[in-house]
């Protein structure tokens, strides 16, 4: 059995981290594009109203304003849904934040299809790709609320642009308070020798569940929580490819350009092994209950199990 400690959305962990940061540091400022409650920026606003800036439904203006605040010596957290942070405001993120290397932390909540009922326009399945292709950008996808809190706090001390990808719905708490979190350093959650499942975000829990099922079939799966997509932890990926000979990646994001693609870019140039990609196929999301959507889109632990078997069968 996988040990969990209840369930909580990663956005809640972000909100907690933000409040803690606000208490410790007076250079932290927060901006929100009319999604203050949804992104949990409201928790900061309540405690530090003078350091909170309401930007209205103007994501583009928010990103460049955050860059200006950073130029005045602040660490600025700009909060909206991932779909709008990376979609509507991508050019502002590119020029005002990434190119200028301003100390802005872009917070995209409501990542992936787990947004559920609001449907495709609000389900960001593309932002990991859109953000990681930008020079100077760091991309973090925490797997649970506690990791999201740690990532939030770590981002504030990490110089330069960061994209934090968070979710709307509750996800099981699987990491521990004493567990390490270092930007750019992936965490090995479980050792194994037949296959490595590299996951990020909510798919880390699905990967752990898949490993339990595989164990019953005598397949030993290594599980890596690749919370930082960029800069990517090449060493742990190459080591896994060498030692287990096949890789399955799992992410709540399109398989084109996302975390799986980033892993394959590393391996194609170093130690190519059979790979399978769990993620959203080349399509938009749709409305529905998140659990049902995960089945429909092939993101469950059962789907990971199937992919593992396929990858192992392709070993030479």
């Amino acid at each position: 059995m996988i040990q969990t400690y209840g369930s909580k959305p990663t956005r809640d962990g972000f909100g907690e981290g933000l409040v803690e940061l606000g208490q410790k540091r007076d250079d932290i400022v927060v901006l929100s594009a009319d999604l203050t409650e949804s992104t949990r920026a409201a928790w900061f606003k309540e405690k530090f109203p003078e350091r909170f800036f309401s930007m209205g439904v103007s994501e583009q203006d928010m990103m460049s304003t955050a860059a200006g605040l950073a130029l005045s010596g602040k660490v600025a957290f700009a909060c909206t849904f991932g779909a709008f942070a990376a979609g509507r405001a991508w050019d502002q993120v590119r020029v005002s934040i990434a190119y200028m290397k301003t100390d802005v932390k872009i917070v995209g909540t409501h990542g992936g299809i787990s947004v559920g009922e609001d449907g495709p326009t609000h389900q960001a399945n593309e932002e990991i790709a859109l953000m990681r292709i930008l020079p100077n950008m760091t991309v973090i996808v925490p797997c649970d609320a506690l990791e999201a809190k740690k990532a939030t706090i770590a981002s504030a001390s990490y110089e330069g642009p960061v994209y934090l990808r968070l979710g709307r719905s509750g996800v099981p708490l699987i990491t521990k308070e004493e567990g390490a979190f270092k930007i750019g350093k992936a965490n090995l959650l479980k050792d194994g020798k037949d296959i490595t499942i590299i996951a990020c975000g909510v798919e880390v829990y699905e990967a752990l569940c898949a490993a339990e099922t595989l164990k019953k079939e005598n397949i030993s799966a290594r599980i890596i929580n690749l919370h930082t997509i960029k800069p990517i932890d090449k060493d742990i990926i190459i080591k896994a490819a060498k030692e287990t000979g096949a890789i399955v990646t799992a992410e709540e994001h399109t398989i084109i350009g996302g975390m799986g693609s980033a892993v394959s870019e590393v391996l194609a140039q170093t130690w190519p092994v059979p790979m399978e990609f769990i993620g959203v196929q080349d399509r938009f999301g749709e409305s529905g209950d998140p659990k049902e959507l995960f089945k429909l889109f092939g993101l469950t632990s059962d789907d990971i199990v199937k992919a593992v078997k396929k990858a192992i069968s392709r070993k030479r």
Binding site: V29, F53, G56, S58, D61, L71, S72, A76, D91, V95
Partner: protein
């Protein structure tokens, strides 16, 4: 006693800046001639009169911030910064060449250049952010942002206009280089902006409409803008694209074309007579 501008000296500087602009553009073989020449007095009146900075200490704590939102006008900014002493005028000849700090559009890091730009419409938001930060820091810095007229087609400018007014950012001073042309042609034909003064007023701004080539009017506008309280100021400066060289003036062909060798010689001759 308020500082008085030396109008004749500023006029002389503007002439030198124009000569430096056409020289650097000709040396680069590409770049934006028309929109660089139209903004010269706006920059000279700011940097050599109103703007607080220390060229030998570009990041000093007491500096104002200038955001060139119309990034393609950077030859004018580079020429002014070199004249101010932020870097050597010799570096101007490296414009647009490989390895240069003088990129085709401004890049943060060149002394005196705090913001990268080129993709239009982002500067006013950056100036607002800087002003909000300065307010938190209880710092009297002012944030200036120079925009093009064609740039006002960008929706983000109007998002930012709402933000400046909402936060009553009286330390923000916008400047519009209203030269009446954009790449595709006359503003009025491509996408009309009028009534432009009324638009900014309706957005909650104090607007000063001036002749952007009259250095006295320019310096007075900066003085007046500084005294506005409780709302942002906009200097709506009527200008001439390609100003100072007869065969560039109002010739939109020179929006993104540099003078050739022959044109350069003629341009310098004309400018030296002014």
């Amino acid at each position: 006693m308020a500082k008085q501008p030396d109008i004749n000296e500023l006029k002389r500087i503007a002439k030198d800046v124009r000569i430096a602009i056409v020289r650097m553009l000709a040396a680069a073989g590409s770049g934006h001639t028309g929109g660089s020449l139209s903004m010269v007095e706006l920059l000279v009146g700011l940097y050599f009169y109103k703007f607080r900075c220390e060229p030998d200490k570009p990041l000093c704590n007491t500096r104002d911030i200038f955001v060139l939102s119309k990034g393609h006008g950077c030859p004018a900014l580079y020429a002014v910064l070199a004249q101010m002493g932020f870097f050597s005028p010799e570096e101007l000849s490296t414009l647009r060449k490989i390895g240069t700090r003088l990129q085709g559009h401004p890049q943060r890091g060149l002394p005196g250049v705090e913001t990268s730009s080129g993709s239009l419409g982002q500067g006013l938001s950056i100036a607002n952010g800087f002003a909000l930060g300065a307010r938190l820091n209880k710092d009297p810095k002012r944030a200036y942002c120079l925009m093009g007229d064609g740039e006002l087609d960008e929706g983000q400018v109007w998002e930012a206009a709402l933000t400046s007014a909402h936060y009553k950012l009286d330390s923000v001073c916008g400047i519009i280089d209203y030269n009446k042309f954009q790449i595709d042609g006359r503003i009025a034909d491509v996408k009309g902006l009028e009534p432009l003064k009324a638009k900014w007023q309706a957005f909650g701004w104090e607007v000063f409409e001036i002749d952007g080539h009259d250095i006295k009017e320019v310096t007075e506008a900066y003085d007046k803008a500084e005294k506005v309280k409780g709302k942002p100021s906009m200097i709506l400066a009527h200008t001439v694209k390609g100003k100072g060289v007869s065969f560039f003036e109002n010739k939109n062909k020179y929006h993104g074309v540099a003078p050739n060798k022959e044109e350069l010689e003629r341009a310098i001759k004309e400018l030296e007579l002014q």
